[in-house]
Symmetry: C2
């Protein structure tokens, strides 16, 4: 894709086009790997979106590599592979790049000392990926039922050896965790503040959107007055791992997602082709809203349109 056009599109100066038989064939021919977001693209909560299994199967039969890049930090890659398989889709763990994995990899590539600990505001996925990478974590689901009572002489004592706080989506968020994470970041010298992602909301159940990791991350920004290192989309931190694995130039990858400010921006930041699907959080009217300055190359209703040509 021409660099100038890509730049203009990423600045919202060129509108995106609907998929049609012609441009779909061109797209498929010029791409070796499809990167899929999951929530709103593959499934909503625990319900598969229509046509997904056939689409993935067809793309695999064409020799395309498939990768699943999800900001949802609630599960580990292992748990995601299980979910895919339980929905009848065969996906292996190493085709999955979740923000929980990204958090652990960020610490690993930055030589985070093994004797330091990581405090987790988030769910199982993060603690599991940290453990797999050899790190010791505190908090997470363990602190989900802790309560505090703001009475005189009460305080939370925090572990001075915590060197990083990882914040992701946490349905068991509470004041104890907020205080613990805040103390580590404010008082432990050099303590890292890592956000799995900053999604405002997501289809955590099939019936409703729920506050996303962006809610918990913002809370910690509010109490610490610090900004996090974001490892999930739209940060391209994970792209290095994808490149190592597949050895395909990003210009021959297509990012397929339902969010402009994470998926499409991630694709554009990484130099990928981009396709927005309208089966998730973004509506056609918000894509076309004058205030939106992120334009994907293409848009369509659902992923199954890719093979309907």
């Amino acid at each position: 894709m021409d660099g100038e056009i890509s730049k203009q599109r990423s600045e919202g100066k060129i509108s995106s086009q609907p998929l049609n038989p012609q441009n779909t064939r061109n797209l498929i021919d010029s791409v070796d790997a499809f990167l899929f977001d999951c929530d709103g693209v593959i499934w909503k909560g625990d319900s598969l979106i229509d046509g997904v299994p056939e689409t993935l199967e067809k793309l695999r039969s064409m020799g395309k590599k498939l990768v699943f890049v999800t900001n949802n930090s609630r599960k580990s890659r292992k748990q995601y592979a299980k979910k895919f398989n339980s929905l009848g889709i065969s996906v292996s763990e190493d085709e999955i790049f979740s923000s929980s994995y990204a958090a652990a990899m960020y610490l690993k590539v930055n030589d985070f000392p093994k004797e330091k600990k990581v405090y987790v505001i988030g769910e199982e996925g993060i603690s599991e990926e940290l453990a797999l990478a050899g790190f010791t974590s505190l908090g997470g689901t363990e602190d989900g039922k802790k309560t505090i009572d703001l009475r005189p002489n009460f305080l939370v004592e925090h572990d001075k050896s915590v060197g990083a706080v990882v914040v992701g989506l946490d349905q068991y968020i509470n004041y104890y965790k907020l205080q613990y994470g805040t103390l580590c970041i404010r008082e432990n010298p050099g303590c890292l503040f890592i956000a799995t992602n900053r999604d405002a909301v997501g289809h955590m159940t099939n019936l409703q959107e729920w506050p996303g990791a962006g809610c918990m991350v913002a809370a910690i920004c509010g109490s610490t007055q610090k900004e996090p290192i974001v490892v999930g989309k739209p940060s391209t931190f994970l792209m290095e791992f994808l490149l190592q694995k597949f050895n395909i130039p990003t210009s021959r990858m297509c990012m397929v997602g339902d969010r402009l400010d994470t998926d499409i921006l991630f694709g554009q930041n990484a130099g990928c082709r981009t396709l927005l699907v309208l089966s998730g959080v973004t509506s056609f009217s918000s894509l076309r809203d004058p205030s939106n300055n992120i334009q994907p190359e293409y848009y369509t209703s659902t992923v199954s349109d890719i093979i309907r040509t």
Copy 2:
């Protein structure tokens, strides 16, 4: 105070001066009302700061009006008056201007319809002030023990007649409340998002700083992608009520507080004299830090220095 000097000071171009016998006498002579912040100025948690009762008594004996302007939304004015009296300081309800009261007054002066409801993320103080002003509220402490479980087909049903969400400090913050408040703001047309204040942390107990309302407010900003109307300091919304009550020009008021970005900024925004006390969250080094661009007119250790001349 000369307008240009005030402007330069508020832009951090002129450093603040320590209180000394000479400038303290001048300050007292030129001021008719002292506005005090509470946490970190009058008390820390439930412990009075040394010398406070004598200071207030002396200022009253000099004919000065005393007002207490607190961002802490956990209590109503009535509950604050009780706290003052239990600490041996006689203060009446109508000398207290809390951010819980500010939230209720904001709805009142903006003719918020009585048939609409208010959802509260916060503690008793807010619900009590809303009730006193004749509004119906939901949430608050009532929703403190509600849990949710992100299983398929689960959703939170929210009241479509909620026309405002008030967010303050909430030690019982949970995912249910975050979802409820987010749904009201995102889905109820015209629903207001009101923040009592945005303090990052505060001395909620005497031994430790804890995440302040700024933490909960940021969480809702994160999930709604909206910015709140702030009614507490540094917003000067409450100043209208003070002016009505005392009929003293703001140039003859002195705001005494421990926070640069709320108390001192509030004083400067309103055209008051300003005095920073170092008995709370601001240290001398953070006052003098080159990154700080809020300079009070004066600073001193504690409020009792005002009468030590």
